[in-house]
Symmetry: D2
Subunit: 258 residues, 4 copies
């Protein structure tokens, strides 16, 4: 599975961008900054699964158009969420990787239809899904003939309130022990706290994750959703530098034991 020249599962992939696509100007600016900082793909939500119907629901088709513009401008492949089987065609026309969110991890009709396309699917773990259920959900896509599934750990729900969710990094090697699928980590949703994104990104890389999905916003305080967890482009640049340097070290003869 190769996206934008990166062999996912072999090359470490850094996916970054805003939680939700808000404006064209802001999206393109963010895309340029994360690319410069080392990101390999741009993430951004056009369709947003929001707990309440009164919350901002994303720009929909207009969001897809903006993502396409950002891709044209920067060359970054696009990762964006699809929530409805009837949107697959439109989303796939813009996206290089189609994301299935936690809330839809067991939306089997959606998964089944994603098995029929020929673009990678990034499958987020459900908030209370076991590893077995997550892998079974992936099989709905694989069984349809689409072998390009990327698993994404994004935190599970526990009683702890110091973080938004509990990032389950042990599931990375545990999944790899029983499945050939690449596993990436989303430290932004997992912790819900911008200050924890860097240490958890490094920890994920050290645990053997195949990549990271990080929320970046030029002005987090103004973000339309999930403000507390988005890092600034400057913070992202520092994270990218640290993580890519760690990944390089882990692959070096010196870090080979690790």
């Amino acid at each position: 599975m190769t996206v934008g020249g990166r062999a996912v599962g072999r090359d470490f992939v850094l996916i970054a961008g805003p939680c939700a696509v808000e404006t064209e100007e802001r999206t393109i600016r963010t895309a340029r900054l994360v690319k410069e900082a080392g990101a390999h793909m741009l993430r951004g939500g056009a369709y947003k699964p929001r707990a309440s119907p009164r919350d901002f629901q994303g720009l929909g088709e207009e969001g897809l158009r903006i993502l396409a513009a950002a891709k044209a401008e920067t060359g970054l492949p696009i990762v964006t969420e699809v929530m409805d089987a009837r949107h697959i065609e439109a989303v796939a026309a813009c996206a290089d990787v189609l994301q299935v969110g936690s809330r839809n991890m067991q939306n089997f009709t959606l998964l089944r239809e994603l098995g029929r396309i020929r673009k990678p699917v990034l499958l987020k773990r459900g908030m209370s899904a076991t590893l077995a259920e997550w892998l079974s959900a992936a099989e709905y896509v694989l069984d349809g003939g689409n072998e390009d599934v990327i698993l994404c750990e994004r935190g599970i729900r526990t009683f702890e309130t110091a973080t938004r969710n509990t990032l389950d990094l042990a599931i990375v090697p545990a999944a790899m022990a029983v499945s050939p699928l690449p596993v990436i980590v989303d430290p932004s949703h997992a912790t819900g706290r911008a200050a924890l994104v860097k240490p958890m990104s490094l920890a994920a890389a050290a645990a053997g994750a195949d990549g990271l999905l990080i929320e970046v916003h030029p002005d987090p305080a103004l973000a339309a959703s999930d403000r507390g967890q988005q890092v600034t482009p400057e913070e992202f640049a520092a994270i990218a530098r640290a993580v890519l340097s760690l990944v390089a070290w882990l692959a070096s003869p010196e870090g080979a034991g690790a």
Copy 2:
């Protein structure tokens, strides 16, 4: 909201039937038996959300046809699950109440479209959904103009393994304290153990639940899914007798204090 002559939210409703519709003969036989035992509605899955694509997925349209036949035969209103917005019309043609399963509690595209129909929606709580999220999910239906939403508690996920899930009965009065929606309880999925269905049914009634959703199979050992939790028609008859008697007592002058 009146279904089959019962005012849901005022009259206690007993909904019973097999986890999945399997054969016409078996479905009609079960329908007759649960009706005789006091059930007010028949439940049965035509579309089954199953963790693995290799599990039995339900009979689909043929299942809907069988449910319609069981309704014609017994007069029992039908409660059945809809998993895909594109099936709503077909399911609504057969069903009196459309069920949204736990895994789809935050399938917002499905919920939104169920807001446009004029049949009651039974919304199961997600496996790790908070009360706030459950009520927000209901708002997707309500906001569309469909005011007939029935909440259904079916157990949440915890570390305890003696039961399949942990039945959260306190959520019944907690939900009622902040929402006018009726709340029913599914002790079958919550416990996963046939022997616990009766005590939990009584407990749910005592906690003030507006009804029960109970899985009944003429031969649980042969059920195509969820064998351990289905009770026999005879066991259901005993449960129904006990629960309806308790409900009557709770409504009597003697039980009025309770």
Copy 3:
């Protein structure tokens, strides 16, 4: 096991009283009121296990003296917590039932020594204890030769925040299916909300619990601990009336099916 003339496990037992013993006057007043309302035992904490060393830690020995006075005044047997093996003798001199709190469910040195006394031990389930672990903890007492262990379900920890803990009523029949020990329920700690104590008390009785442990305070707003969950003596009287009436009905020929 007989306490104050009630055969625990056969006769339903209502245990009520303040979270913590505060003053002699208030304790005796509460004892009189709960006795009048139908309580069979008085609960009250002299030693309080508090999360922070800055929280009120209980009156200690002075609390035990007050409990003894309340017993002398009302004849109600006393249920009170022991947190330290070195206090067992002093606590047992006053208490008819020694309580082990959730935080000490796996304090094996304490349990082992409680196996050597000849007074009933009320063992609360740990906040995240499985049924198997709870029963294993009870064995530390039983193995010492003290066969009078009462299990007390008090809610487990989950992600839900609408209630303080999640009351796991299915564990009542699940425990009874594998153990001969009586099982009672504490709806006060489980829900943390006074308004939910009555419905959960009725639900517990309907689920087959052998009794209830309810926090009652003459003026909950002034309580030194756990204010939100304590009911007034008047509220307790209504709960007791309802529960005892339900228990009587369940034992009647009419309720026998239930």
Copy 4:
């Protein structure tokens, strides 16, 4: 706080050894091997908190004697658990660091007395303890005047069964953000799987942990407790090499960004 020449909180500390002390020969052999591999302290349980009274409970005083012998032989400081306030003196005579296990995190009488000694206390997080509760428990020790508390994350309880517990690495930086106490990680109990100890050790170091507590047994299949999670001395040597090399790199100018 300096133990064996390491300034805990500044110097990364590797603590290794068997779950339980079994024989003198085996303990000394393990001590030599882990020292050679780079461990800075020896762990080993003389008093074992076991779920069932029928499980191996540790060698008690004889175990302390063996640990003292291992220390005499290797010079490694000893970390061992204390479960009972009445054992503190005996344990402190042998141990350089006194461990409080998960089950005793809220054994406040034990914590209070540990506040009176002048040896470091390693406080494991309770299985379902929030960060706030963990820090409050630490205050029982700190308030007594003992400022040398080391926090140890060892996994929390969730619904996931692929690992024994869920290792919550985000709690490491989250704790450090609000507390000056050093935080170490126990990947052995957290995962329960020997194969996951290495990736989780690296992840913990990358997350900023101040050290690791790793179970090592010369022949894990023969261990008296927790077989599945103990690594061999050879495996430990590889882990130590990798972790210490990562820690050195993180502290180097090159890794400084990380």
